[in-house]
Symmetry: C2
């Protein structure tokens, strides 16, 4: 049965998935690239093939659709720019239908490589139903940012949640954990530390009785 | 040279070292014993002798004094009870001079087993100077709670910080990370996950240039 998954979602020790303020020049605000250095390191020639690499390599395996929040698609105000086509150039790395949650939807954007951006103003449940229909037998990825992951987890919609806790303290931003008190209930939780200092934390939903 | 250390300080994924409200009946509020189960488990007959056990066993090694916040010494309002002698009975586990930071100091309390509680209304720096004088060649432990650890870390006074991140989301309480943005700078940070699901996170101050 297809799953709803979050993979390789980096957060700081204090639970922030991006810094602030976010802008065209600084998509991750004052966090810069610090939350994702561990992943970039796995892409280098001769990089270690250990736990960071195997998790990172799973990023795009098995997905038939992605759902993302408006802040992942562009900098604040992108809705006012009819030419904005996302951060990723003409061939984005999703290669599937990709649903952008925004209160100001626009016409779909068909990119190269199989990515089509669709813009939805709807609830997590309804967006997921639409994405699952498109994904067929494959899984749906909840791609972030923190608010979107939080909303889907809070609504009980996420089956597998893979966080990467990076040992930095960002101090401000949007906290993943707000409103998620007790979310560990119903999940098998496993933590695996990497020699790079990050911790891979996986929440896997236990079979429902 | 003697160090200032925090050891075996448990925090939730969202950075809380205790729940709320704290009371005589519930010293850790709604967190109950969930933050410390990993440690209690190491005390059981036949317990594993792995990473949790070795960290836990270091809790009281090498210390000549402890500093704690008022909320660690007793429930809210203990200052109004002249008979209150701490949570730990007549033979507390500290076995050293133990400095309680409170705006309402009282006369020292000499307990059995080498623990004497002293009550100080002063800054972290001054409290540390007093504790270091008492500790001599031994280290000083900053014992908690979250506010006290945070204040000493923010003041740059802590050399070694050992946190135990427990994979639960508490939702509210006092957050260890508030005001500690960038605190990882100047430390070597190492994370070690345990089969029990907790993560031992050690911040070790790099030699000052």
């Amino acid at each position: 049965m297809p799953l709803v998954r979050v993979t390789n979602f980096s957060v700081s020790l204090d639970g922030f998935a991006a810094g602030a303020p976010q802008s065209l020049e600084s998509p991750f605000g004052h966090a810069g690239q610090r939350l994702h250095e561990w992943m970039f390191a796995t892409w280098a020639d001769g990089a270690p093939t250990g736990v960071d690499a195997v998790f990172a390599a799973r990023w795009d395996v098995g997905f038939g659709a992605e759902i993302m929040g408006a802040n992942k698609f562009g900098p604040p105000g992108w809705q006012d720019d009819p030419e904005w086509r996302g951060w990723w150039g003409e061939d984005p790395p999703f290669h599937t239908p990709t649903y952008v949650l925004t209160h100001r939807p626009r016409e779909p954007l068909e990119m190269e490589g199989g990515t089509t951006f669709h813009f939805l103003s709807t609830s997590p449940e309804q967006a997921l139903a639409i994405a699952q229909e498109a994904a067929g037998d494959l899984d749906v990825r909840i791609g972030g940012g923190a608010t979107t992951v939080r909303d889907f987890v809070a609504a009980g919609l996420v089956d597998h949640l893979h966080l990467v806790v990076v040992p930095i303290v960002l101090g401000h931003g949007t906290c993943l954990w707000d409103g998620l008190e007790g979310m560990e209930e119903g999940f098998h939780v496993e933590s695996t530390s990497s020699p790079t200092g990050v911790v891979h934390l996986t929440f896997s939903r236990r079979p429902r009785a």
